[in-house]
């Protein structure tokens, strides 16, 4: 029993990282209709940045915060390349993000090398009903829930959030009322960068991060986001948690080597199920 509880908590913790990466994909896709393949790179760059900043003696909190800001800036740069020229079709922008994701490898290896890195998170362990786990998991879960609540408020209660939703809802009407759809797309890339960055700095204390860790994150994040058709943040959170728990159970009772396969099978199952109901990716009606 305590073993199961332990898997559930660590699974939810790992799932939070997928949910954050996935919500970054959703934030960008809703506004721009671009599937951002560089999303995992935001997490890796932020994680590696945080490890360097902590090594120079910056205190916890500040280092992670700056690293998330670097993630947001990276997102903005990727956005500028992918959609900066108004009228770029989403397909072309998608290829641009794929290219930038690979380009990020080169930059990461050049700056940080190819050895795995980590840094300490919240110290100590917690015991609940006999299940022992690192206290850092509580930070991951708490921060993720706070971020999702904050995103909900951002999109429904602020002018910028409404404008982002407007671009997602009807880009032509957004232009009619004077909203710059390209500028809002760039804002969404920056938000996606920050969300990816947050996933990176939260997960590094429990998971060694290398330059190519983005593949694990993007597959998990995509599997989470596809549950909500790439447009629904709440379902993305549910998808991330479901995936995290499934992986933890497979690793706990079976073999940890199959974690990626769990994500892929889950993603395929959801896509097949959704394809049977309606088109997964809602194409813009031309």
């Amino acid at each position: 029993m305590s073993e199961l509880l332990q898997y559930l908590i660590t699974g939810v913790g790992g799932g939070c990282a997928f949910a954050l990466v996935g919500s970054g994909l959703v934030a960008i896709y809703r506004v721009t209709r671009v599937v951002n393949f560089a999303q995992g790179a935001f997490a890796v760059i932020a994680a590696l940045t945080a490890s360097t900043l902590l090594a120079t003696g910056l205190p916890h909190g500040l280092a992670e915060g700056l690293a998330v800001a670097v993630g947001a800036l990276t997102g903005l740069l990727v956005g500028l390349v992918a959609i900066g020229k108004p009228g770029t079709p989403p397909g072309a922008a998608l290829i641009a993000t794929l290219g930038l994701g690979v380009f990020a490898y080169a930059v990461e290896v050049l700056i940080w090398g190819d050895q795995p890195r980590s840094f300490p998170g919240v110290p100590g362990a917690v015991e609940i009903f006999g299940a022992r786990f690192q206290a850092h998991y509580l930070l991951i879960i708490g921060a993720t829930l706070a971020v999702f609540a904050g995103m909900g408020l951002l999109f429904t209660r602020t002018d910028v959030g409404r404008a982002l939703s407007a671009c997602a809802s009807n880009p032509y009407a957004a232009k009619v009322v004077g909203i710059s759809v390209t500028r809002m797309g760039l804002v969404s890339f920056a938000i996606g960068g920050a969300l990816g960055g947050l996933a990176g700095v939260l997960v590094t204390p429990i998971q060694l991060v290398t330059f190519d860790y983005d593949v694990t994150l993007i597959v998990g994040g995509f599997a989470a986001a596809i549950l909500g058709g790439l447009v629904r943040p709440a379902l993305t959170l549910a998808g991330g948690l479901l995936l995290g728990v499934a992986q933890a159970l497979v690793a706990g009772y079976g073999n940890a080597a199959y974690q990626m396969e769990v994500a892929l099978v889950l993603m395929l199952a959801v896509m097949v199920w959704q394809a049977a109901r309606k088109p997964i990716v809602q194409e813009e009606t031309a």
């Binding site: 409404r162 939703s165 809802s169 957004a174 009619v176 004077g178 909203i179 009606t285």
Partner: protein
């Protein structure tokens, strides 16, 4: 620019690639004036509106707007997932106007709908939201693209009444783009007829209504207005909403 005009268009040409959508169009709307632009499908009416509002760029010619222009786009163009109140608020984006209160005073029918999702409203209700959203930018002139399309006559009459009031009480100028020439000539004092990207005829509403060519083309039995009414009948019978043709392709 002519003194007191809110819209002045001189020799405007707009192209989509090689295709010429507007060819040397000139048109004026005076302050507080109600002017109609009539013409069949594909004549370039929506292209003109989208050029006036800055969404499309002219290939040549000049567009001068004296004051602020707000657009009520064809097909109403709601933000379907957002509430009526949020739709209205977004209308004030350009001028940072968040106060939707005055809109509910002008269009009291919207008060009970303010928390509803715009996508769930009827066509007439959506058209009213579209007018309210345009008013949020405190315009001097309203460019209304296909006010009546797909709407029942009673609903259109109500919308027309609101436009008349706005014009009489606030001096709001209106450029009414219509396929339905009867409505347009009834509401406006002057009108232009646009055909294949050129102004074919222009004059006072009475002159145009009396002109045999205009009457034959736009007020007769074979006129587009009949086809438009047939279309609205189809929609009353539960067809999905009229799909807007993409403009910026």
């Amino acid at each position: 620019m002519i003194e007191g005009s809110v819209i002045e268009v001189r020799d405007l040409t707009v192209r989509y690639g090689a295709a010429v959508a507007l060819d040397g169009v000139s048109l004026t709307v005076g302050a507080g004036e109600m002017v109609a632009l009539i013409g069949p499908n594909g004549a370039g009416k929506s292209t003109l509106v989208n050029t006036l509002s800055g969404i499309l760029r002219p290939a040549s010619g000049r567009v001068t707007i004296g004051g602020r222009l707000a657009q009520v786009p064809e097909g109403r163009q709601m933000f379907p997932d957002l509430t009526v109140d949020d739709n209205l608020r977004l209308g004030g984006w350009r001028v940072r106007n968040r106060d939707t209160g005055p809109i509910y005073e002008v269009l009291p029918d919207l008060v009970k709908l303010r928390r509803r999702r715009a996508g769930l409203l009827s066509g007439g209700q959506q058209q009213m939201v579209a007018v309210g959203r345009a008013l949020m930018s405190r315009p001097d002139v309203l460019a209304v693209d296909e006010l009546s399309l797909g709407l029942a006559p009673l609903v259109v009459a109500d919308l027309v009444r609101h436009l008349r009031e706005l014009n009489a009480e606030r001096g709001l100028a209106v450029l009414l783009i219509e396929q339905n020439a009867r409505i347009a000539l009834d509401l406006c004092t002057r009108a232009y007829v646009l055909e294949a990207g050129r102004i074919a005829v222009s004059g006072s509403a009475e002159e145009l209504a009396a002109s045999p060519t205009v009457a034959a083309a736009y007020l007769g039995a074979d006129a587009p207005v009949i086809r438009a009414s047939l279309k609205s009948l189809e929609q009353l019978e539960g067809r999905p909403d009229h799909e807007e043709e993409g403009v910026a392709r």
